[in-house]
């Protein structure tokens, strides 16, 4: 029997809907970004006042240690003017409070996980593991990814603080959702001071300023919007400095020392000043460099820290100097991600003390004093994406879990010096590679000397596209299992993370999973470590 026009019409309604609706969704992509806040609803760059996170005070102290109490909990705050954003914070601030501790005094930090039982959007249990990045902590206090503190539990972390002065940071490292937890706000700065650094006439006090840079994305209602771009990384359209979008800071006509921490999830930056003037790099991840390096611009990957002195004395009051970002490749950029913050020069009076950049800062820096000839072996680590998974030498953290935490990528002997050669054979992405516990010296980058700003001791190295980087490392100061991973936190979660073990035949190392956590309510603090 013939199909009538009416039959054909009825059938075509279904056929059209069945073909078009799924296709429409596929073509328009994941509709996550459709709820993104309009650019016109964001604050204009440099319209937000600058601020710094508060410095945390110990709850008590004894002869050897200071004791701190930190609570991880949801907090509602106004980041975009007129909108409320729920973030997760350490002690209610974004970023978390800054620690300022002296070399030789231990810090014991109670971290209480008072986060909700599930993430409000991503529906995961926000277990945590707090890593003090840059610290030679014992394995059980290093934020081992599988050493979990669930909501309703707490753990006391012991930090030794015996290393040279440096800018560290603390952030969550819980397995599978580090990126999401850090994106929610679980990050803060930790400054370790020592007599050498304090004795130098470099800027101190109010002229020693943390710049904790991150990028975020927001929904139209002000809530955070997280998307991982097919596991390649998170790239937000709003640049925050110390939790403020594109802030403007008033500066006096003198030198300032900025401790720049890239606390982004995936984004790398290339800094420069709008005046084209040079900045003095005086510190890297592991503290003061032997001698200052003057650069017009420099690249900073995720988790790297650089201490930079900018001299505002040459500028007139009223002049605005911009800190810009000419992005390294393979970031996803938006209209205003080339802007970071502004420095508004004012004519206020200022102290002239500690207003210098000495030609020699830390000539005896122990890591930088290492010689290539000291190395007893060379190991190679390939960072690659295989079948959608990020891997190191073909392995992931799941392989570590499957081995009951025994599998290692390397097992150097204590006090040995080794060369670690890191390779990224892809042109499609870069990896900021972090090696826990130790400091290293960059020997070469694709056979060439390291860039000027990298000529100091470090714990994160930017492994660029098609690059091979050679590192010189002394495995001293401790023993046990520590992680090595990509600090693009999306890569880390998907599963570019492994571990190495510093082997000491004369002494067993503590197990990373050997301490805590404990269930709430809180008990007395553990002073035993």
């Amino acid at each position: 029997m013939d199909l009538t026009r009416r039959d054909l019409f009825k059938m075509s309604v279904l056929s059209g809907a069945a073909v078009a609706l799924p296709l429409e969704r596929s073509v328009s992509g994941l509709s996550l970004l459709s709820s993104r806040i309009a650019e016109c609803a964001l604050p204009a760059p440099y319209s937000t006042p600058f601020s710094t996170p508060p410095v945390i005070a110990p709850v008590y102290s004894d002869a050897n240690a200071d004791y701190f109490h930190v609570e991880m909990a949801p907090t509602s705050m106004e980041i975009i003017p007129g909108l409320r954003t729920e973030v997760w914070t350490y002690n209610g601030t974004l970023p978390g409070p800054t620690f300022r501790v002296n070399q030789g005094r231990q810090a014991v930090v109670r971290q209480v996980n008072n986060l909700p039982s599930t993430h409000p959007v991503l529906n995961y249990t926000p277990w945590t593991s707090v890593h003090l990045h840059g610290s030679a902590s014992l394995p059980q206090y290093d934020g081992y990814a599988s050493d979990l503190t669930n909501p309703g539990e707490y753990k006391d972390y012991h930090f030794p603080n015996w290393q040279p002065a440096r800018t560290l940071w603390y952030h969550d490292h819980g397995v599978h959702h580090t990126a999401e937890n850090v994106f929610m706000g679980l990050a803060g700065m930790y400054q370790l001071l020592d007599p050498l650094e304090q004795s130098l006439h470099i800027p101190h006090g109010e002229y020693d300023v943390p710049l904790i840079v991150s990028d975020k994305m927001f929904n139209a209602d002000g809530s955070l919007l997280f998307t991982n771009n097919d596991s390649s990384g998170f790239y937000g359209d709003v640049i925050l400095v110390n939790g403020r979008p594109w802030p403007a800071m008033k500066v006096k006509r003198r030198k300032y020392r900025f401790r720049i921490l890239n606390a982004s999830i995936s984004r790398s930056y290339k800094w420069s000043l709008s005046t084209g003037d040079k900045m003095a790099v005086i510190g890297t991840d592991a503290g003061l460099v032997p001698a200052p390096q003057y650069v017009q611009s420099f690249r900073q990957g995720v988790a790297e820290r650089y201490e930079v002195v900018i001299d505002f004395s040459k500028y007139k009051p009223g002049q605005r100097v911009l800190l810009r970002n000419t992005s390294p490749k393979n970031n996803i950029n938006f209209t205003n991600t080339d802007k970071v913050m502004a420095f508004d020069v004012v004519g206020d009076s200022f102290s002239t003390a500690n207003n210098a950049v000495p030609a020699s800062l830390n000539p005896g820096q122990p890591t930088m004093a290492l010689k290539e000839a000291d190395a007893v072996t060379t190991r190679r680590f390939d960072f690659a994406r295989v079948n959608g998974q990020w891997k190191i030498n073909g392995k992931t953290w799941d392989d570590v879990v499957a081995s009951h935490y025994t599998a290692t990528l390397a097992s150097p002997n204590i006090d040995d010096v080794e060369i670690w050669e890191l390779r990224n054979l892809s042109g499609g992405w870069h990896h900021p590679v972090h090696i826990h516990f130790i400091d290293f010296k960059i020997l070469s980058r694709n056979g060439a000397p390291p860039m000027p700003h990298e000529r100091g001791a470090k714990d994160v190295v930017f492994l660029g596209e098609n690059e091979t980087v050679r590192l010189l490392i002394k495995f001293g100061g401790g023993r046990g299992k520590y992680m090595i991973h990509c600090h693009n936190l999306v890569h880390e979660d998907h599963d570019m993370m492994g571990q190495f073990e510093i082997v000491d035949p004369s002494q067993a190392a503590p197990d990373p999973l050997s301490s805590g956590p404990y269930g709430l309510p809180e008990g007395p603090i553990d002073e035993s470590a």
């Binding site: 029997m1 013939d2 199909l3 009416r6 039959d7 019409f9 009825k10 059938m11 075509s12 309604v13 279904l14 056929s15 059209g16 809907a17 069945a18 073909v19 609706l21 799924p22 296709l23 969704r25 596929s26 994941l30 509709s31 996550l32 039982s117 599930t118 993430h119 959007v121 991503l122 529906n123 995961y124 249990t125 277990w127 599988s146 050493d147 979990l148 669930n150 909501p151 819980g174 397995v175 599978h176 959702h177 999401e180 997280f226 998307t227 991982n228 097919d230 596991s231 959608g388 998974q389 799941d398 879990v401 499957a402 979660d493 998907h494 599963d495 999973l513």
Partner: protein, 188 residues
Amino acid sequence: MTTQGVPALVPRPVALERETAYRLVASVSLMLAGVIHLIVVPEHLGESLLIGMFFIALGLAQIGFAVALRWALVVPVLVLAAVAHLGVIALYVTTRTVDLPFLPVHEGSGHAVQHLPVAGGVGNGTPIFPNSHIEPVGSLDLLCLVAELVVVAMIVGLLSGRSRRFVTNLMFCLGASALLLRGVGLLL
């Protein structure tokens, strides 16, 4: 003038030819859809045993029905087959447009890999991104959809009267409902 008693010389063979053509096209389309469903079984078995079994059953049923179409089937069977295919088509559209929490997370959204359980971890530590249960449209499943739409159209051609109206009205209602739901934002 009446035509009573005059043999219908032309219309009957044309109708027969048309019916044969409908059966043939429906059979080929059913074979195609069935084979495609069987091809994707391993991938779906990897996600869930239940989903894998569903695809096996569906694929075999379609191939079986393709063979059965060699014979003249009674109207209720044809209507049942049409309604079943409309159900499959509705399921297809739903899985590509609605974030159904009981479906597996598809590759490319959040964590595609099932991780090993972590000792000491309470609950699920793996983020589940909004819309990550929505399957993307692939060329194979689009081809399968078109084949199934052709199957239903051919069955409609084999039906007449009330049964045809029932199926075409159902198709219209399903299509219009889907468009309406999209309009109000319930489908993405």
